[in-house]
Amino acid sequence: MSDLARTRADFPILHQQVNGKPLVYLDNGATSQKPRRVIDALVHYYERDNSNVHRGLHALSMRATDAYEGARARIAKFIHAADPAEIIFTRGTTESINIVAHSWARAHLKAGDVILTTEMEHHSNLVPWQQVARAVGATVRYIPVLGADAEGGLDYAALDTLLTPEVKLLAFTHISNTLGTINDAARLCARARAIGATTVIDAAQSIGHARIDVQALGCDFLAFSGHKMCGPTGIGVLYGRRALLDQLAPDETGGGMVVSVTYEGATWKPSPERHEAGTPNIADAIALGAACDYLDEIGRDAIAAHDHHLAQIAMEKLSVVPGIRIIGPRGGQPRGGLVSFAFAEVHAHDVVTFADEDGLALRGGHHCNQPLMRKLGLTSTTRASFYLYNTAAEIDVLVASLRRIQKFFVG
């Protein structure tokens, strides 16, 4: 059995038929599938160790606490955080970013300040900043994307004029979920740091696909979701530098994060407890730790190479399908494992419905990226996004399906 076949064998969901055809799951940008080991971690927890954490002294509670805090330490290692207390468990990227917007930004930004972000952000890394800007009287500015099909990536030259002293926060995506662009996160963080701005990286699309070292990147905050990195739904992480997290006022309050409560008021524990009010998502945090183990066993460099390889093949084969316009980086430029494209005469939803007939799982729409779509003169694209279990043969299924669709609608 080849490595790839072995990897595929780890994912129970892949071995099914959809509409009478083998499932070809190319919707990894939306969510990834889960290896047996992650599912087993959930089952094991609920069958052996389930208990509430932190406040318990009996055997189950101690086992659950050890497993939960063990997962925190595992994830700290996964992203090279200096301290497990820098890992806050959240529901996902969106909640992580909202916590920074609520707790950090509302406390630190004032009228006249600028939040700098990019034109390629997912709504989850855009709308929260617009909201906080509105609340405090700050402004959101955008680093432009270059080229008619955004093939040029971010306009780094524009940083010289955009990074004015009013910029207090720089928030950007590591890999674009729509374009596939890989942004130079270390460079962006260094530029922001040079003017004293705080940085937030949306790592939703990169976390499961590349090595991440928060200390090397030099970011202040980093957000990601477990479900896109072979982990379960409902769990994600906000990484923050300890010095920032310990100062930060909690967004949510309640059990587990307080030192002392009276009928008059309360005081907070340090991080991470201060930012995790209530019973946490214990089982899914533990399973996310198992996902880290799994990904590191396969090797994140190997995954990145595989993603890149499939994206290159897809770019080549798609570019000769009649009527297709590919958006995002071209040629040798860095690109994550996804390809977004539009047919001149077939809407993305019709593409997805037709492709489903061939067993293909594709995503069609604005990919939570409406302003960018508008800028590119599109209302939607179809996206094929790859992961460690996808094969070159699956791209052939995709291409054959797209040709059939083009033929049906256009002739």
Binding site: H347, H349, T353, E357, G365, M373, T379, S380
Partner: protein, 151 residues
């Protein structure tokens, strides 16, 4: 191609998608409403001129999938000359067709949309233009949205 899929993309629908009727803005319109489908980004504006209580002229505008475009196109051909009450009645029948697949004999071209009912996620595509039209008839200045739990 599966039976379900050829039911969905009937010839009538493909034809309206390729050659939409009454497409564009209506300079004489006295009612207009905009609808959108937030989950997929489909948009549809309906412009109409009410003459007394009858729709004298009607057009649509927007972008979206074959189902939403064909539905809006076909709708304009059906609503011309109707009153608001008649339009609502027609929509109710149309809604019944796309949600159940049951097409009453007396309705003609609308029956082409019966195949939608096996693709529940596409029902809101089929009804997008209709929502905009009904809102236009009510002169409702709010954007119609089909993103509700009723569809």
């Amino acid at each position: 191609m599966s039976a379900d899929l050829s039911e969905l993309y009937q010839q009538v629908i493909l034809d309206h998608n390729r050659r939409p009727r009454n497409r564009g803005k209506l300079p004489t319109a006295n009612r207009v409403a905009h609808g959108n489908n937030p989950s997929c980004g489909d948009e549809c504006s309906v412009h109409l001129r009410l003459d007394g209580d009858r729709i004298a002229e009607i057009s649509f505008d927007g972008s979206g999938c074959a189902i939403s475009q064909a539905s809006a196109s076909l709708m304009t051909t059906q609503l011309k000359g109707k009153t608001a009450v008649e339009a609502q009645k027609l929509y109710d029948e149309f809604h019944h067709i796309v949600t159940t697949g049951e097409a009453p004999a007396e309705i003609s071209d609308l029956a082409a949309f019966a195949g939608v009912h096996t693709f529940p996620a596409r029902i809101k595509c089929a009804t997008l233009g209709w929502h905009a039209a009904l809102n236009a008839l009510k002169s409702d200045p709010l954007p119609a949205t089909t993103e509700t739990h009723k569809d």
